[in-house]
């Protein structure tokens, strides 16, 4: 009897290797196309949300709280849009990371683990602001609640690490040559651009534009998922 890729018969029905999951079945093809579409759409939705939001998202402190208070009813809409963007970005991240790992497994995996930090549910300080201001809490107290939320909010501060993760996925895709070069470069440039409007206090339009570069990067790298070679 020759060794083969098939698992030895163990009598356990769940231990078989020959799954019915054809790597190019209809479901698989649909999933790949969906994930590529999500990779473009997720960051693009984020970009549109930032560009159209009446809230000065890139400012901080009492100035932000006052502007938030003046546009309270606009928050529910932007909250919806951000919630819609997150599952799409996750699907896009998994797609891009898979492409990156085909060429550079270790770098791609490190990038995936770091980038996943962006997906952690963390208490939204904007939710706190919304509910406090809607309930008659004054701006000064709301600013204190927003500036120093629960200590666990520090987990939300891991965002820069997540951006480094996206950047590493771009580097892995570039070095491994498993994705279009333009996509890989955009995924390296995008995470560098994203925090700049927050650091420098630029407008939300610029912040949105940075997310459009992220859309090109994540989607461009994810396109490697549609190649016929590799898995």
């Amino acid at each position: 009897m020759a060794y083969s890729c098939a698992a030895p018969a163990t009598g356990r029905p769940w231990s078989h290797d020959e799954y019915r999951h054809d790597p190019r079945s209809g479901v698989d093809t649909f999933a790949r196309n969906f994930m590529v579409a999500a990779a473009f759409a997720g960051p693009a939705v984020m970009a549109v949300a930032l560009m159209t939001s009446p809230l000065p998202t890139t400012t901080e402190g009492e100035a932000y709280v006052r502007a938030f208070a003046a546009n309270l009813d606009a928050y529910a809409w932007s909250s919806w849009v951000f919630l819609a963007a997150f599952p799409l970005i996750l699907a896009g991240l998994l797609a891009a990371a898979r492409v990156a790992r085909q060429g550079k497994p270790v770098l791609g995996l490190v990038g995936l683990v770091l980038a996943f930090l962006m997906m952690i549910p963390s208490a939204s300080i904007d939710d706190t602001l919304y509910s406090a201001l809607k309930s008659g809490v004054d701006v000064a107290t709301a600013t204190k609640m927003y500036s120093t939320p629960a200590p666990t909010a520090i987990v939300g501060e891991l965002f820069p690490l997540a951006l480094i993760g996206f950047l590493l996925i771009g580097v892995a895709a570039l070095l491994g040559k498993t994705a279009p070069t333009w996509g890989a470069i955009a995924l390296i440039v995008g995470p560098i651009l994203v925090p700049i409007p927050w650091i420098t206090g630029m407008s939300t339009v610029v912040a949105g534009a940075a997310w459009l570069v992220m859309a090109a990067g994540l989607g461009g790298v994810a396109l490697g998922l549609l190649r016929r070679t590799g898995s």
Binding site: Y3, P13, F30, V137, V155
Partner: protein
């Protein structure tokens, strides 16, 4: 890479187990008589599942899709958004409010206002809560039908999904939550074993001497 093989499997056990333990170890937070230190303990402990639940569910989905691609994919798409409920712990605002001396009546109003927001509104509950239960149910059925994990894993996942969906409709006793997540832990662990057994590296190891012929009659 051992971490690529065993890491996801470990997360698949840690996530539901931490949720089951969290339901037993920590009382549900309250507004009246809010205990900041007790809440902080829960908030820190909850970081375990906040960090691990999404990759764990994706691991279960991967196993489910091996045997039943369509059902597994549908289940995965429905389940994952529930793991990303981007608003985290709503009681964080109670913690911050108590610290700043906000009156209890105002805190109660704040919680009412926060439940107007998308993630907590009826539409949000349907999108993130009910879809999570329905997705878990589909993943369980996919495991049973596709037989890509032990039968008891599929059965346990279906049972835990039923508990989760019942919880979305009626108020269940507090003990239902840890019971549901204990069932989910069994299901996820079964899938983790399957994921490790059928990882590409184990397939490669099994087939490493691909052309060696054993003596005839073996």
């Amino acid at each position: 890479m051992k971490i690529a093989r065993y890491g996801p499997a470990a997360l698949m056990v840690i996530a539901p187990l931490s949720l089951a333990l969290g339901g037993v170890l920590f009382p549900y937070p309250t507004i009246r008589g809010h205990d900041p230190q007790g809440y902080l303990a829960l908030a820190w402990f909850s970081q375990i599942w906040l960090l691990t639940l999404a990759p764990a569910v994706i691991g279960v989905g991967v196993v489910a899709m091996r045997g039943a691609p369509l059902l597994g994919a549908l289940g995965l798409v429905l389940t994952v958004p529930g793991t990303l409920n981007a608003d985290g712990n709503p009681y964080d605002l109670v913690y911050a409010g108590v610290r700043e001396g906000v009156p209890v009546a105002t805190l109660e109003r704040m919680m009412e206002r926060v439940y107007e927001l998308p993630a907590y509104s009826p539409a949000g509950v349907w999108l993130y809560g009910v879809a999570f239960g329905a997705g878990a149910l589909l993943l369980g059925v996919a495991l049973l039908v596709g037989r890509s994990a032990p039968w008891w894993a599929g059965f346990a996942l279906v049972a835990s999904a039923v508990v989760a969906m019942l919880g979305a409709w009626v108020e269940l006793p507090d003990v239902a939550r840890p019971i549901g997540w204990t069932l989910a832990t069994a299901a996820f662990a079964g899938c983790a074993v399957s994921l490790v057994r059928h990882h590409p590296t184990s397939a490669a190891r099994r087939s490493s001497p691909p052309t060696v012929e054993e003596p005839s009659g073996a």
